[in-house]
């Protein structure tokens, strides 16, 4: 660090920034993997049970749809607090990175599921019909036709979700999860340490940019149209 740099960022504790960065990445990584693991099957079910689809089930579709909408309409900050007892049961604590992951997943998975559902709707119906005409079972249609065809759309959905999770992790600081967003709020905002605010926000911006770039590359790699 140059002298000018230290003066400019007098309040910045770089080691703490480093730890907060690691916490943010841990929250993001853990919750993204679990969000996809929960949201993808949920999105597939939402799609398949929809009207005119392969396993059309109006009742099941209606219930899933209401569940997803309810979770999506609860503000994340409320979800964080309401989830505390459940989180304690699930991971043994409501604090730190582990304590943040369950609410992050519950907040993001329904969102991701909706995006997956619409990515699947974008798949040409004719392709599904062709697979049916070849004697494919519903399972084969999902795994061998629908999901491969929707891969670019699902990757784009994952990118949007990952970026939404970055801003959720900032709020997760409220339950003591740490992370860059928490640093920005506690020092930058509450203690008027503008330099800390600038550094953390800049790092979050870089993170979002990198996620978007990786996402765009992945989508382009799998697009064959």
């Amino acid at each position: 660090m140059s002298a000018a740099g230290s003066a400019l960022f007098a309040n910045v504790d770089w080691a703490e920034i480093g730890r907060a960065g690691v916490d943010t990445l841990a929250m993001l990584g853990g919750s993204l993997v679990l969000t996809v693991a929960v949201g993808l099957p949920l999105g597939v079910l939402l799609f398949l049970t929809g009207r005119g689809q392969l396993l059309a089930q109006p009742l099941a579709h209606g219930l899933l749809s209401v569940l997803v909408n309810v979770l999506r309409s609860v503000p994340f900050i409320i979800l964080l607090i309401v989830m505390i007892p459940v989180t304690v049961v699930l991971v043994g604590t409501s604090l730190g990175v582990p304590g943040a992951i369950p609410p992050l997943v519950v907040g993001a998975a329904p969102f991701f599921a909706r995006l997956v559902e619409s990515a699947l709707r974008e798949v040409d119906r004719g392709v599904i019909e062709a697979a049916q005409a070849m004697g494919a079972s519903p399972r084969q249609i999902v795994f061998d036709a629908l999901l491969p065809e929707a891969t670019p759309g699902i990757l784009a959905a994952a990118t949007v979700t990952a970026i939404a999770l970055v801003s959720y992790t900032a709020m997760a600081g409220v339950v003591g999860a740490g992370g860059l967003g928490d640093l920005a709020v506690r020092f930058g905002y509450q203690r008027f340490q503008t330099d800390v605010m600038v550094v953390t926000v800049a790092l979050l911006l870089v993170l979002v940019q990198v996620l978007q770039m990786i996402g765009d590359r992945a989508v382009a790699h799998f697009s064959r149209r």
């Binding site: 040409d124 004719g126 392709v127 019909e129 005409a133 070849m134 004697g135 079972s137 149209r225």
Partner: protein, 333 residues
């Protein structure tokens, strides 16, 4: 091979109901190319989907290769569908798979052959449709005609006895259409493949089909051997479809001219016989040509001429045409 008995299909669409098929009876023999023609909305797609039960009939019986399709359970139905290939207007290839992977797809679903055997068979099929050099491209990199040939190769992967074609050439230009139709004809000959195709173009029927059924508003209004239906259509819809295809020869219908107007239809070798001049000389009849064409129905050459006949012994002339094997039809004007 395929038997449809009193098939009805009613769709529930929102508040109302749409009766797409209203009592269809059809029999398709093994090894024939059977065409169904009709205008948009006539029920053609619904009809062809009855054969592999992509749509279930509301009433009626579908029998394929001696099996009552309705009696099959889910696994039995999937087995039946593997024995029926299908190609589509918009090809319906998987955009995420390469050409060879698309052709291999039905074999992969079937799960009977080993990986290398599947690839070898897919490559052999691509070779049959002259696309061996495109194997590792993606469908988006191919032209429409090439995509449809991939569709044909894919449909043949599981060695079906039946091929269903849903408007398979409607998205193609005339030259590509002819290529694909020629391919279908060859496959019919080489493999004894039974083909059911639906189209709104009379030209497609004329080029490949043995028999044809004309569909209108969910009913078969006329059916028979293509040459018969094409050269002497009885139903107004059939005539309209022939006219739309530019295959009609009714130039004389409203034109000026004295005497009697007749349409002469030659088939096979008589098409090329020098009859007209000789008969005119011998009977003293004068003629003016109001319209006509010479073309082929599959391999059968035919000619159709509309003439106005004046003077001489017209009845004797018509009798001589009939004696020479020309169908004579007098037209009221």
């Amino acid at each position: 091979m395929i038997e449809l008995s009193d098939i009805h299909k009613t769709y529930r669409a929102g508040s109302g109901e749409v009766a797409a098929l209203r009592g269809i009876d059809l029999r398709v023999a093994a090894g024939e190319v059977f065409g169904v023609i009709g205008q948009s909305g006539a029920g053609k797609s619904s009809l062809i989907r009855m054969i592999n039960l992509l749509e279930r009939p509301t009433a009626g019986r579908v029998t394929v290769d001696g099996v009552d399709a309705a009696s099959l359970d889910a696994a039995g139905l999937r087995g039946l569908r593997r024995r029926i290939g299908m190609i589509f207007q918009h090809f319906n290839l998987l955009s995420s798979k390469t050409v060879v992977e698309n052709v291999a797809f039905p074999l992969q679903l079937e799960g009977r052959l080993a990986r290398e055997d599947i690839r070898a068979r897919a490559l052999a099929l691509l070779d049959r449709v002259d696309l061996a050099d495109q194997a590792d491209k993606y469908p988006a990199q191919l032209s429409g005609g090439q995509k449809q040939r991939v569709g044909v190769a894919r449909a043949l992967a599981c060695e079906p006895k039946i091929l269903l074609c849903d408007e398979a050439t409607s998205a193609l230009d005339p030259e590509t259409t002819r290529q694909v139709l020629r391919l279908l004809r060859e496959l019919n000959g080489e493999l004894g493949l039974t083909i059911v195709l639906i189209t709104h173009e009379m030209d497609v029927i004329r080029r490949v089909c043995d028999r044809v059924a004309v569909l209108e508003a969910g009913r078969v209004v006329e059916q028979g051997v293509v040459a018969d239906v094409f050269l002497s259509p009885r139903h107004a819809t059939t005539r309209r479809l022939i006219e739309e295809g530019g295959d009609a020869d009714d130039a004389g219908a409203g034109g000026p001219g004295a005497g009697r107007t007749v349409r002469l239809t030659y088939r096979g070798e008589t098409t090329y016989a020098p009859l007209l001049g000789r008969i005119a000389r011998e009977t003293g009849v004068d003629y003016s040509i109001l319209g006509g064409r010479v073309a082929h129905i599959r391999d059968l050459p035919y000619g159709q001429l509309t003439l106005a006949l004046v003077g001489g012994d017209v009845d004797a002339a018509l009798a001589q045409f009939a004696a020479a094997g020309v169908a004579v039809e007098e037209i009221d004007r």
